[in-house]
Amino acid sequence: MTKTVVINENTHKGIIEFFKLLLKKEKVRGVFSLKKINKDGDIAYSLITDPDELNEAVPFYPLMPVNAGKLLSRFTLKGSSKKPVIAVLKPCELRGFVELLKRQQGSLENLYIVSFTCGGVYPSKLSLDGTIEKNMNSYWNEIKKGQIPNDLRPVCTSCTEFFPYTADFIVDLIDNKEMDKKLEIFLNSKKGEELTKDLDIKSLENKIDQQKLDKYLKKRETEKEKIFSEINKKLNGIDGLVDIFGRCIGCHGCSKVCPVCYCTLCEFDSANSEYEPSNYDSELKRRGGIRAPPGILYYHLGRMTHIGISCVACGSCEDVCPVDIPVAVIFKKVGESVQNMFDYVAGKDVEEEIPLVTFKQEEFVEIEE
């Protein structure tokens, strides 16, 4: 059984009440959440300090303009805030943040995380013509029924890590028939319990319905098999890779928005990855012709070896790609595969070391032939 706090209000309104309470009682100095930032209803992450501004917050909105784990890393990179801040993250954003913490790219000090069992987000392009807003009712209807909504990011429909393991506060949205009447927040950590200790708010005890989540997990696993089998047909030797990545324009947007790609100067932008005239001479001798600038496959495969071990399959890379390459599905597949080798789930446990900076004395004997 876990302690919970309850507000008898529609979940989306209740969470705002909760945050207003925390701000007014000066338990936190700021709230980090998705928010409508203008009269057109454009939505972006915001750091909110005024309770009135919270009226425009939409913490559970099915949109991820940027991976918020990356934003929290930026927020805490140069030092934590002196007073607490509370942030709403989706499970993959939280896992992204945890992977960044393992690389000294942020801090959890004075930072409280609210997360939820996540039904997935829409590709950001769909926010441009109002599609997402139009789909809001049907989205939440599907979530309430424990179904997978249509038109989400492919990596969302196939996501099997939709439970926020390390959050301080968890709201269970999936298959939640009481969403319109009640907000129940599970206090998932001592930190969370401490924060809400003397708040004027109803407290209960409850259990997360694991069976219900397992049922949803099966649905997601079915989708995953489908998506992986589709991409596997295209991953067909070097020609398959050239077909998939051939139209890549080398913008490196995928790397820039990836939560785990934190390097200020990426290896593939550095002098190490530049070709000298003599390189071109030798490549031309051999091939007769070479794409300029070269190194598209080198970049993508290289990036896989760099961050595959920590990929949280959030899908930001595919969203930002200007030429619609299914980057996220491929990285999800490779990332999971690499993580499985070490029984590792990126971002599940902040104490667990990244597998490539540690070792066992006896392992992978089969690698040496």
Binding site: I238, T305, M341
Partner: protein, 143 residues
């Protein structure tokens, strides 16, 4: 893809200074015969081998890439080859998962006294690569 007997594969071999490079030297001084397919590159430790080196070699058209180091537990720098092993396992998985030929990559432990083993690995790996044929990445323009 050339698969005929005239095909001499080009195999880039990253050999660690203290063990496998010395082992390769010993194979030479002992006049052990092995195919002229290996292009050795000496590194101080097998853990110096960045997966990016291997990728460059593979995409550059190398028919095979060999990484050789000290036996686990015997690394001159104590722990280097443990990391090599994990990194190489990860790299092979990536290459395999994207549909490329992971069998073109090989990790081997060869100590300074194992001239015979080095020659054996070189021979076996060359045979295997000959069977696989040329790496078609060699001729690709749109990489």
């Amino acid at each position: 893809m050339k698969k005929d007997e005239d095909f001499l594969p080009k195999i880039i071999a990253f050999l660690c200074n203290w063990c496998s490079y010395a082992g390769a030297d010993l194979a030479g001084t002992s006049r052990l015969k092995y195919p002229a397919s290996i292009l050795p590159i000496r590194v101080m430790c097998s853990s110096r081998v960045d997966p990016l080196f291997v990728l460059r070699a593979y995409l550059g058209g190398a028919d095979g890439v060999l990484v050789a180091g000290c036996h686990p537990g015997d690394c001159h720098y104590q722990e280097g080859n443990y990391f090599t092993r994990r990194r190489f396992a990860m790299l092979k998985k990536v290459v395999e998962d994207v549909g490329l030929e992971a069998d073109r990559l090989r990790l081997s432990w060869v100590s300074a006294s194992e001239g015979q083993k080095y020659a054996k690995v070189a021979k076996e790996f060359t045979e295997k690569i000959k069977e696989m044929g040329e790496n078609s990445a060699k001729n690709k323009i749109f990489l």
